[in-house]
């Protein structure tokens, strides 16, 4: 073990001496180098663009998503579409004014770039028709009659046509007080090949539709993935304000803590540099910033500050106790902090990298961004910071203050050192075990996936979710859509065999709890067949005669079959998107497939919002434990290498495990599910949480090696670094606690959980770590 660790740690140990020599021999040259690099990265970082794409938020390697990608071009509007509802605040939709607004909105949407114009639908588009049977045969036409002139008579005709078209609850609200425009979107413009710019699209919607047509008589409601992403990007920009607040608060605290102007400004500048470098590198590598990776700069800043504090603290103590000058103090601090600092940062980075096991692009991007962040902290805060301090020092005031502190040998730290005594240790560990048991019990209710209605990314009272509940209340089609793509050989999608099997499939699905209804080509064929037979319900069936079927499918609404007739989607509307519901649907579909699927007719899951959520849930459920195992193994291994003792590893890791358990219980209590946004929290929490343990234990070890008893060593540790560890917890918590106020729900969730983890990890390191050490090393320097 010793041999292995000395081999593995050789680069760190050697680099320490090398780095020290290089760093302090070429100070000016290096400072110029850092300055140039910072200017370059500032320029790069200013180029970084908000970026959010549909595909990145879903697990690309999951079979559901692979199936969707394969058939994407054939699924008009099922992957990505928005719904715009024009509602009359007074009266109903049968007024000339309302209809002219609806027509204008339809036209306006038609011309917004990115819209799949051929599939755009409202009662004003010619692809929405009514049909009726009379003694003379089958008649039909567009809902808005050709001779429409806004007169009372023509409005009456519109009313009749709407009733005959069967669009009540689909394109017209159930209460006739609103009407919908369905707007399918292209992910990529088929002509220019350009990716849909969600931010711009969403802004255009606001400008050209909502702002322009909202009035005292008309309200506009918009839902759909593109709008969610647009709102997310807008919300994420607001988060930038939080950064400013976090910066100022951290500054004040730093000054109160260090009592030194330079000891405040320099860590802040270096930490800011870390953020700038991180963003610059991201841009250089071609990454944008999405609502998830938006949070990484906060973390990087907080981590950077926390390491900066350790260095400033060490410099101050060195100056105060040994009277070292600026340069010597800086050198000493560098030597003291370099190894634990590097180890801590490397474990942070590797902790983040374990997020790569989750095959969802946004999480992987977050992992990359965070890892780059901690990597640059090594340069900015472990190297640049002591370098700058070697010129400026901490200042006389701070040193005087520190001296007083040391002489006082105070006070409240004695309280904590109780936990390094036998009795205190037992009490602490017993309490911890009780908490762990309670935590495990409490986390029983923890669920996978999103638990709230509407768009869970946004807050319940956000405009988007209000719009969404308006639409849910007034229309019959739920927004939780799960699509099964039935594939057949070419020209077989409308064959009797196919339709009969799909018919059975849809009937079978009705038994699945959570399924509201479903619709497919079969429904069209059945309804039109009945229509062709004078509307008689006794003909509402798939007819075993291809000519009859073909006649029934002479007009098929867009999106129910593809042009080569090899694909027919079955669109399933669900009650909600709870993990349970989604699971029930996938299990049911699998059951049907096992029993009925043939070589030629395949039932492929899944597209639609709920389909992707089902895929995401499956990935997250699997990755959840895999990720925990990885992050704990890696962090434990690093600690083992550094301290070469299994007991030490237990001392450092056990408090983290307790925090992870309590965090899960907290999630269950707060109704936060394990989802794309919250899964990374534990890896981030553990990765960063281990820092405290590493700093405290390495300090304590030096005192133990000097022959102090555990209690003494611990008290010494608390007096020298306890304050800075507590301060670190505080700065980290400040960095994330503000997210709680984010308009984006998942950022708020992450904020709550990370704040909790940072503070509990700190307490764990300060209380539980010495207690466990006491019990595991009964004979140490007794």
């Amino acid at each position: 073990m010793k041999r292995l660790s000395s081999i593995l740690l050789w680069p760190i140990n050697t680099s320490e001496k090398l780095a020290e020599r290089v760093l302090f021999s070429y100070r000016k040259l290096l400072l110029v180098g850092f300055l140039i690099a910072t200017l370059f990265f500032t320029w790069q970082a200013s180029q970084i663009r908000p970026d959010a794409s549909f595909v990145k938020m879903i697990p690309a390697q999951h079979p559901f998503v692979e199936n969707y990608m394969r058939y994407k071009d054939d699924l008009a509007g099922l992957g990505n579409s928005i719904r715009v509802v024009v509602a009359a605040k007074n009266g109903d939709i049968f007024s000339a004014e309302f209809q002219s607004t609806l027509k204008s909105v339809t036209d306006e949407l038609f011309f917004i770039p990115g819209v799949d114009r051929s599939a755009l639908k409202s009662i004003w588009t010619p692809n929405v028709r009514w049909t009726e049977v009379t003694e003379d045969g089958f008649v039909g036409g567009p809902v808005i009659p050709a001779k429409y002139d806004g007169s009372k008579e023509s409005l009456e005709l519109v009313r009749t046509n709407i009733l005959r078209s069967g669009q009540v609850g689909i394109l017209v609200g159930n209460d006739f007080r609103s009407a919908m425009v369905q707007v399918p979107l292209f992910d990529k413009d088929p002509e220019t090949g350009e990716k849909l710019d969600y931010k711009e699209f969403s802004a255009l919607l606001e400008k050209l539709v909502r702002d322009k047509y909202s009035s005292e008589n008309i309200s506009i409601h918009i839902t759909g993935f593109a709008k969610i992403v647009g709102d997310l990007i807008d919300g994420a920009v607001e988060v930038a304000l939080f950064f400013a607040i976090a910066f100022v608060v951290t500054m004040v605290l730093l000054y109160l803590y260090s009592g030194s102007v330079m000891g405040t400004i320099i860590p802040l500048i270096c930490s800011l540099a870390a953020v700038i470098w991180q963003l610059g590198v991201l841009n250089l590598l071609g990454y944008g910033i999405d609502p998830y990776s938006m949070l990484v700069p906060f973390l990087v800043f907080a981590i950077a500050v926390s390491h900066g504090v350790q260095i400033v603290n060490t410099i101050t103590l060195e100056s105060a106790t040994n009277g070292a000058d600026k340069l010597q103090a800086a050198k000493h601090a560098f030597k003291t902090i370099y190894i634990p600092g590097l180890t801590a940062l490397i474990s942070d980075g590797i902790g983040f990298i374990t997020l790569m096991v989750i095959e969802i692009q946004v999480i992987q991007d977050l992992a990359v961004a965070a890892s780059i962040g901690v990597a640059v902290i090594i340069l900015t805060n472990l190297m640049l910071l002591p370098l700058l301090m070697s010129y400026f020092g901490v200042g006389r005031n701070a040193i005087t203050k520190a001296k007083k502190g040391i002489e006082k040998k105070d006070s409240h730290w004695h309280l904590l050192s109780v936990f390094a005594t036998q009795k205190g240790a037992i009490v602490a560990v017993v309490i911890a075990i009780c908490l762990a048991v309670l935590g495990i019990y409490g986390s029983k209710g923890l669920q996978i996936g999103d638990l709230d209605v509407g768009a869970p990314e946004l807050r319940e009272d956000s405009r988007y979710n209000l719009d969404n509940s308006f639409i849910t209340a007034n229309y019959s089609t739920s927004s939780d859509v799960f699509v099964v793509m039935v594939s057949t050989p070419k020209e077989h999608c409308s064959r009797y065999e196919t339709l009969a099997l799909v018919d059975r499939f849809q009937f079978y699905l009705r038994n699945v709890s959570g399924v509201q209804s479903s619709i497919s080509l079969v429904d069209v064929s059945e309804r039109v067949t009945a229509g062709l037979n004078e509307g008689s319900l006794k003909w509402r069936s798939v007819i075993r005669n291809q000519y009859v079927i073909n006649a029934s499918l002479s007009y098929v609404p867009a999106g129910l079959m593809n042009s080569s007739c090899s694909l027919l989607p079955v669109i399933i509307f669900l009650d909600d998107h709870k993990a349970e519901t989604l699971k029930a649907v996938t299990v049911a579909v699998d059951g049907f497939v096992a029993q009925y699927e043939t070589d030629t007719i395949k039932f492929n899951m899944a597209a639609g919002k709920a389909g992707f959520e089902a895929a995401t849930n499956e990935v997250i459920e699997m990755a959840q434990y895999e990720m925990l195992i990885w992050v704990y193994s890696v962090v434990s291994f690093l600690c083992l290498l550094t301290f070469r003792s299994l007991r030490t590893v237990v001392c450092i890791i056990a408090p983290l495990i307790l925090t992870s358990i309590l965090c899960q219980a907290l999630m269950a209590k707060l109704g936060i599910g394990v989802k794309v946004a919250t899964l990374p929290v534990i890896a981030l929490g553990v990765g960063i949480g281990v820092d405290y343990g590493i700093y405290i234990y390495s300090k304590m070890q030096t005192y133990l090696q000097k022959g102090h008893s555990l209690a003494e060593a611990y008290l010494e540790t608390l007096q020298s670094t306890g304050k800075s560890v507590a301060f670190t917890g505080l700065t980290l918590a400040i960095g994330v606690v503000l997210w709680t106020f984010s308009p984006i729900k998942f950022q708020a969730d992450m904020g709550v959980l990370l704040t909790f983890m940072f503070i509990w990890n700190m307490l764990g390191a300060l209380i539980l770590l010495p207690a466990i050490a006491r019990l595991l090393h009964p004979k140490i320097n007794e």
Partner: protein, 363 residues
Amino acid sequence: MSKITFSYSVVFGCFLALSQCVLADRLVQSAIQQAAPEKSLLLTISRAGKRLVAGGEQGVIIYSGDRALTWKQAEVPTSTLITSLNFFDKQTGWAVGHDGVILGTKDGGLSWQKRLDGAVINQLRVDALETEFNYQNSLGAVDADLLENLGYQLDDAKIAVEEGPSSPLLDIIFLDSLTGYAVGAYGLFLKTNDGGLSWVYEGYKLPNPDSLHLNRVIQTQAGHLLILGEAGLLIESLDNGGSWHKVELPYQGSLFSAVEADSLYLMGLRGTVLKRTRDELGSTVWNKIDIGSTATINDAIVVDDIAYLVGQGGALLQKQGEAFVPFQKRGLRSYSAVESVGQYLIVVGEGGVSRIDLNGGTD
């Protein structure tokens, strides 16, 4: 005939044996058991003694012993759309549906067996038409038109064999325990004389040269048989089906249902109701009654001497004097058939079963 049944099931049996290669057919797939089968699309309802039995999509047949409060799903060996069912007595009942399915029950509707399907019917039709064609041909004094028409029908029948069992049956009636008739699309008309053990095709015996759909067959209180069809087709038999003649109507649309209240009423498309009366000379006339609705009436019933009509778009009308007026609240979805039990009308249709209290209130 039984040979054909055999070969037909052999074909599917073979497919089943090769399992993965070809899917099973709805003629041999049992109806899927539903958690809430009473919410299915239901087209027909009838009474077996005190028990209510209803049928509809995907071979769903349900029964209720507690006045339609709770329902159970029967065992049905096919999953085609059931269009009509009725009971001869408390135990014996018949159901017909798409793909020419005839089902029978002997336990009051709890379980059903397949008695006939469209593949057999197609062959029965060819056999019957061939025999008739040869017979007419052999008579010497040949009616050229009749023979030509039989020839056409025979050609159609042969094509139908190729196309498979695609014609739906739409109604069935048993006059006694042995004699029964089934009617269906494209002039399909079957008769049994042995309680459904064997069937013969007798479509050519009806005055229906254009093979119009036959929607309904009923027996009047006077014992006459009426077949209601497409394009104003009304065919009557005064001798239990021995001979059939066409009744001329002042209406060219489809007829779906008939009911006898103070007189005989025929119901057709878009709110058409015809009432049979006699003029001063004693000959039959048909008067169009304005019911104030354009909904197609699908079924009707008389309860305590009052007629009720149900139809498309949730139409529900009550006869008051000479007029029909809307009764209670109009439903949201189409009604297909109606039955009564106690003080309730039990209506089935698009949304499944509705229970309407004649003394007011729906649940």
